[in-house]
């Protein structure tokens, strides 16, 4: 698959000399849904804004569809649509005018049919004559999405699209993202909600302190780094976990009927066999056992700990 976005050794310093992006490298494949995951202040918005031309960067190169974002900015920018993190809109303009204005800025001739279909898809058609300031937060987010789609971009950036968004919009958004993907649009979204990445991304990148820590396919990432959870249901409840089993870090639920054990699938010895034997030795009767894949959340937290650990060591 070919790369639609190539970010090489990009460093971005803000005026106060703070490095928000630190020699960052990232490649995005054509047609994928990529989730950029990172805590607040990791540099997600900064990264998106440098690609889109909203911010300058100090070093490195960014190429979109094999065009340089600085030298050939017209070509690169007309491919990109961006839904910014903040809900900033003008106050007195109508939804209809504002969305059409966005399309114009991108150098596209008017196409009212297209705008109408976007507004309908986003349930904004009833509101098309409303002034922007009359809209609720959720509606504003919808307008920002409509603006970003107005010029039929090939790459769509969504910066924390679901931050403080209602369930309805989240559903609509996933539907739109899936439709765009089926049309070959590349989608890059940032989030600090791990479930979101888990739900729709093809690949996941984790960013912290202006650096990409890891990039991989979502499923591989979960498998490669994931821990599993072993759930053991008991036939009769117990009051506490026997002393001898403390090294397993087991957890007992309040009713005393379920023991959970977290283990590393990558480790040579998962400890499952010995644990089960020990339980038997303690005359604990098992009713059922099941395993669960650990969430991206725990992976994420582990990685952050690791990278901080490396920083401390180096």
């Amino acid at each position: 698959m070919n790369q639609i976005l190539k970010i090489e050794n990009v460093t971005k310093k803000y005026n106060n000399n703070f490095k928000a992006l630190d020699n960052l490298n990232l490649n995005i494949l054509k047609g994928e849904i990529f989730a950029l995951l990172g805590p607040n202040g990791a540099g997600k918005s900064t990264l998106i804004n440098t690609v889109c031309g909203i911010l300058n960067f100090n070093e490195g190169s960014i190429r979109v569809n094999d065009h340089d974002v600085i030298k050939e900015y017209r070509k690169t920018r007309s491919l990109i649509g961006i839904v910014p993190q903040e809900l900033n809109l003008e106050a007195f303009e109508t939804v209809w005018d504002n969305v059409n204005y966005s399309r114009g800025l991108y150098g596209k001739p008017p196409n009212y049919k297209h705008i109408e279909s976007i507004l309908r898809e986003l349930s904004l058609w009833d509101k098309k004559e409303s002034k922007l300031r009359e809209l609720s937060g959720g509606m504003k987010r919808r307008v920002l999405i409509a603006k970003a789609l107005s010029h039929e971009p090939k790459i769509l950036f969504l910066d924390e699209p679901t931050a403080s968004v209602d369930v309805e919009l989240r559903k609509d958004m996933w539907k739109i993202i899936k439709r765009l993907k089926s049309k070959g649009v590349t989608i890059i979204l940032t989030t600090h909600y791990i479930e979101e990445a888990e739900e729709i991304a093809d690949r996941v990148g984790i960013i912290n302190n202006g650096k990409i820590i890891i990039v991989d396919e979502k499923n591989r990432l979960i498998k490669k780094l994931g821990q599993k959870i072993l759930k053991i249901e008991l036939s009769t409840n117990i009051l506490n976990i026997p002393e001898k089993l403390h090294s397993y870090n087991l957890k007992l639920n309040n009713e005393g009927t379920v023991i959970t054990y977290i283990y590393d699938t990558k480790a040579n010895k998962t400890g499952i066999t010995t644990l089960l034997t020990e339980l038997k030795n303690h005359n604990i009767q098992l009713k059922d056992i099941s395993t669960e894949q650990s969430s991206l959340e725990s992976i994420f937290l582990n990685l952050l700990k690791e990278s901080e650990y490396e920083l401390v060591r180096s």
């Binding site: 909203i54 961006i82 809109l89 150098g107």
Partner: protein, 253 residues
């Protein structure tokens, strides 16, 4: 050239103006009428003629210039300041637009508005005095040149300003005094010799003088000096803007 983008900015700006249409048209009409009442009638009855032109007619060109200058600066500076203030400027920066196209869109719209206002004032003035314009084409040329130049200047202020105080600073501290001292309401011949010399340092004087010449063929300085002054100012503004954008000066950060 991104023509659709340029068009979008231009009409977006004109639209903002349309929303405040009443205020945009009524306020110049009222202020023009006030100038006529205060200066034209009250003072004009004591001053008979200046260079063979009645005082009421004499002040018309200066009044138009006064309004065009302040309107151009405030429209253009507010036009680009507004998206910065509301944080919607990201859209202009992310769109495939060159700085030249952005400047052209905003400055074009601001200058258009000034021209419309200029015409309204001429119309209003015509009610109070009988206007004969000797060189209508030169008059229009001056009108356009001034609107564009000071819209450019206003755009620069809007790019530079990062708060409302700065936005008002230059117009209040520099432009308004220069305009009032630029011979809008008097001929510098009426001043003592020392102040005549000082007045010659005021670029606005050259504008007003040239513009008045296109009406009545009377002027404080030669029409060519006036033309050169405004052209120099136009190209300085353009030069500074293009230079600073080329240097990577962004509208934001």
């Amino acid at each position: 050239m991104n023509w659709y983008g340029l068009k979008a900015i231009y009409f977006h700006e004109m639209d903002r103006m349309r929303r405040t249409l009443f205020q945009s048209i009524v306020s110049p009409i009222i202020s023009t009428s006030l100038y006529f009442v205060v200066f034209g009638s009250a003072i004009g009855s004591r001053i008979t003629e200046i260079d063979g032109v009645s005082y009421g007619s004499f002040i018309v060109p200066g009044m138009i210039m006064l309004t065009i200058l302040t309107q151009s600066i405030s429209n253009a500076s507010f036009g680009i300041f507004f998206p910065k203030f509301t944080n919607t400027v990201y859209e202009l920066l992310a769109a495939p637009l060159s700085s030249f196209e952005i400047i052209l869109g905003f400055v074009g719209a601001a200058a258009t508005k000034s021209l419309i206002i200029g015409c309204i004032i001429i119309g209003t003035a015509n009610i109070f005095v009988d206007l004969h314009i000797l060189h209508p084409f030169i008059m229009i040329f001056f009108l356009i040149l001034t609107s564009v130049t000071f819209s450019l200047f206003g755009f620069m202020i809007g790019v530079w300003a990062d708060n409302f105080e700065k936005l008002q600073l230059i117009p209040i501290l520099i432009i308004t005094p220069l305009v009032f001292l630029g011979g809008s309401f008097y001929s510098i011949n009426m001043l003592p010799e020392f102040w005549q010399k000082v007045s010659l340092l005021n670029p606005v004087l050259y504008l007003v003088s040239g513009f008045r010449w296109s009406f009545y063929e009377i002027a404080d300085v030669s029409i060519y000096t006036s033309l050169i002054t405004i052209l120099v100012f136009l190209f300085s503004c353009l030069g500074i803007l293009i230079y600073s954008f080329a240097k990577g000066y962004k509208i934001k950060n």
